[in-house]
């Protein structure tokens, strides 16, 4: 861990932009500038003075690169705004340069459009519900944004209920708005989360790890007991199992998974599976 950080410190002293490709998987600090692959050739040793003159100067292929969380476009380069490890994903099909993002860890959630979150209804006022999602402002949820809801047929939502929905509006200038239907008008798992069960909060990084496509933790947990889990990208997890004891065990395991190596985790699961 000392390696990448000391390199980063050296870099900051030298203040020369690094190529994003060479920094993949290493720790980057806010304020660093990264060069995209297409610019590396132009910025090689020798710099502007020795750039070969080409007849069709504008024919350089422009690759569309997506800037993910923690990165910002700054002129031609990427500017790092969060500290964490730099990641890259190759584009699935043909065009585009893929996605770059910074994997960082935090507990405080900032609403992002399209995220599925668990919210707690705090107030009912007229046609909208105010839902607390852990951000700086409560999100608004219209009563018509449920599947099969009409003006006559209102959904049965009380203050204090848990809602699983997604954001349709989430930026820094307006209050976030969420809905419980997808673009086709179907609920698709969203809506009011049933009674019972336990809601607890974890870090955002753990949620992303658990929601990764082939997460072992979830598979192993699923083999232990029958259970229902809902993950909200705002760090909230709702668990329900047959008995209170099982629910508590699950909640403790998921919270502890963040700081355990896979060996320790397997040990714990095997011990639980035996008893």
């Amino acid at each position: 861990m000392a390696g990448p950080v000391s390199v980063a410190a050296e870099y900051l002293a030298g203040s020369r932009a690094r190529a994003a490709r060479t920094v993949l998987g290493q720790v980057v600090l806010p304020g660093e500038e990264l060069l995209l692959p297409e610019q590396e050739d132009a910025e090689g040793p020798g710099g502007a003075g020795e750039r070969p003159l080409s007849l069709n100067a504008g024919a350089r292929s422009r690759v569309r690169v997506v800037c993910g969380p923690g990165l910002r476009r700054c002129g031609d380069r990427l500017l790092v705004t969060k500290c964490g490890r730099l990641r890259h994903k190759e584009p699935g099909s043909g065009s585009g340069g893929g996605v770059y993002w910074v994997d960082s860890q935090q507990k405080r959630y900032v609403p992002v459009k399209g995220d599925h979150v668990i919210g707690i209804v705090t107030a009912k006022s007229g046609d909208i519900f105010k839902v607390d999602v852990g951000g700086s402002e409560p999100a608004s949820l219209s009563y018509l944004s449920f599947e099969g809801a009409t003006k006559r047929n209102r959904p049965n939502v009380q203050v204090g209920d848990l809602i699983y929905g997604q954001f349709v509006v989430a930026n820094k200038d307006m209050e976030p708005e969420m809905v419980c239907i997808d673009s086709c008008g179907r609920a698709n798992g969203m809506g009011v989360i049933g009674q019972d069960g336990l809601l607890f909060k974890v870090t955002l990084g753990l949620i992303r790890k658990l929601l990764a496509p082939d997460c072992e933790i979830i598979q192993e947990v699923g083999k232990l007991y029958p259970l229902e889990i809902v993950f909200g990208m705002n760090g909230r997890i709702w668990v329900k199992a047959k008995t209170i004891q099982q629910t508590l065990i699950l909640a403790n395991i998921l919270e502890a998974c963040e700081h355990m190596t896979s060996d320790q985790r397997k040990q714990i699961f095997s011990r639980l599976a035996e008893s």
Binding site: I249, N252, K266, S275
Partner: protein
């Protein structure tokens, strides 16, 4: 920010769990969370962690003129602050009720109980006395602030050393710490607060409630006691009706808890004293473990799975017997078959031992290599998909599993062996059925593996 509202679901769950005598972190009804006391480099600076609740205490002193009606006594000043980092709900103007309540309780506990001898703080009667100031900061709120604060206050006071003063006639000499060793305060006894949370109108009680339990409790009873079983202060809030024997029972429990906590405090003070005397390193920097990124550690919670056993037995008793497992033999070549899986290969240590468990290095490589030899197909270890958001808690142990591309030749004469990269590599042995021939794997794989390592 407003406080996160408590959902109906959580409230219901917590109350049901308490009725079944279960707490969120697996403690028993009368159990305290782990208390950890660490000292800073200065005398009088300490940090107390009660589970995740953290309080920082700092004692300082100053020479001032005494109060007019108490000319021979020193002055004590207590202040508890709820820092904004403790909880999102704590804002500069918003926590007044809770703050006032905690401060009042702390003052009653420490000042009215006369735990510190104020007469000994007098330097010149009527002119100069010591003013001792105790500042407590709440750094993280996870329930039961008052207990942690009272422990921090008394520990800081016991740890503190004031400068030595000598009076000769009219001359007062204040010695610096270099000239004369600073002097500890004179403390008669150590009052410690113990909190009890009541639920369902006094039917259930819990000692040391954490933040979730505090949200759903009906009332709170705080008893401050010292190890001589003298009650320094009692406060009941929340408006619940308590019976006499409930209060007596609580005071008995308090006696036991205070004895344990006092012992812990004395041991911590002694340890710190020893380290300072021997010239070892002390201070907050030493109390944080090295090589650990995370600040919070999950303590091992003993999970009581006893009734899970009963339930599991019931289910097993009622379930049908499992179907018989018949292992199907795999025919590699005429005359060579394989039933089941072999023993773990000891050559596996040669490959990177840091790879994850589900990527067992050795075995598949041998079988695959020997199968692929004639068909001229390059195969590398089929690792698991790269974990996109993979956080590992240790420093620097990030694993990037490299997937070299699988090159399949186009020739139609050879058998096409299709490997599915997303399945567990250990199953590959049974999947690759149509191999042409397999030579004895003993010699060749050694060569192959060395080649592979060079290529890697």
């Amino acid at each position: 920010m407003k406080e996160t509202p408590l959902s109906n679901c959580e409230r219901r769950f917590l109350l049901r769990a308490i009725e079944e005598k279960k707490r969120l972190d697996g403690r028993q009804t009368y159990d305290y969370r782990n208390i950890r006391i660490s000292f800073g480099t200065d005398y009088g600076c300490c940090m107390v962690e009660l589970g995740k609740t953290r309080v920082l205490g700092q004692v300082s002193c100053e020479l001032v003129s005494p109060k007019l009606n108490r000319a021979t006594e020193g002055i004590l000043f207590f202040n508890l602050e709820l820092s904004q980092m403790a909880a999102p709900a704590f804002e500069p103007g918003r926590q007044s009720d809770l703050l006032v309540k905690l401060n009042r309780l702390l003052e009653r506990c420490l000042r009215n109980s006369k735990c510190i001898d104020t007469e000994s703080l007098c330097v010149v009667a009527g002119e100069k006395v010591w003013q001792i100031r105790v500042d407590l900061h709440l750094l993280n709120h996870d329930g039961n602030i008052i207990d942690a604060a009272s422990i921090a206050a008394i520990v800081a006071l016991c740890h503190f050393r004031r400068p030595d003063v000598s009076v000769q006639g009219d001359e007062i000499t204040l010695y610096t710490p270099e000239e004369r060793d600073p002097v500890p305060l004179s403390i008669h006894h150590m009052p410690i607060c113990v909190s009890f949370a009541f639920f369902q109108q006094g039917t259930y009680l819990l000692v040391d409630p954490n933040e979730r339990e505090e949200r759903v409790m009906d009332g709170l009873l705080v008893i401050a006691m010292n190890k001589h079983r003298e009650i320094c202060t009692i406060q009941s809030s929340g408006g619940i009706m308590l019976l006499k024997d409930q209060v007596l029972r609580c005071s008995k429990i308090t006696g036991v808890k205070v004895a344990e906590i006092t012992e812990l405090i004395l041991k911590a003070l002694e340890n710190d004293q020893k380290v300072r005397k021997e010239g070892g390193k002390f201070g907050f920097a030493e109390s944080i473990a090295n090589q650990r990124i995370t600040a919070f550690k999950m303590e091992k919670a003993p999970i009581d799975t006893s009734d899970v056993e009963e339930k599991a037995e019931e289910i097993i008793a009622e379930a049908e017997p499992p179907s018989e497992v018949v292992s199907t033999p795999v025919l590699w070549t005429p005359g060579t078959a394989q039933i089941g899986e072999g023993v773990e290969n000891s050559w596996g240590d040669l490959e990177d031992s840091e790879k994850e468990d589900d990527e067992g290095g050795g075995d598949e490589a041998i079988i695959l290599d020997s199968i692929k030899m004639d068909t001229g197909v390059e195969v590398s270890d089929i690792g698991s998909q790269e974990m996109v958001f993979h956080h590992v808690g240790q420093a620097g142990l990030e694993l990037l599993t490299s997937d070299a591309p699988i090159i399949l030749s186009d020739s139609e004469e050879e058998e096409m062996i299709i490997l599915e990269p997303d399945k567990n590599p250990k199953k590959i042995r049974t999947q690759t059925t149509s191999a042409k021939q397999e030579k004895a794997p003993s010699k060749k794989p050694v060569k192959r593996r060395k080649k592979k390592r060079a290529a890697n």
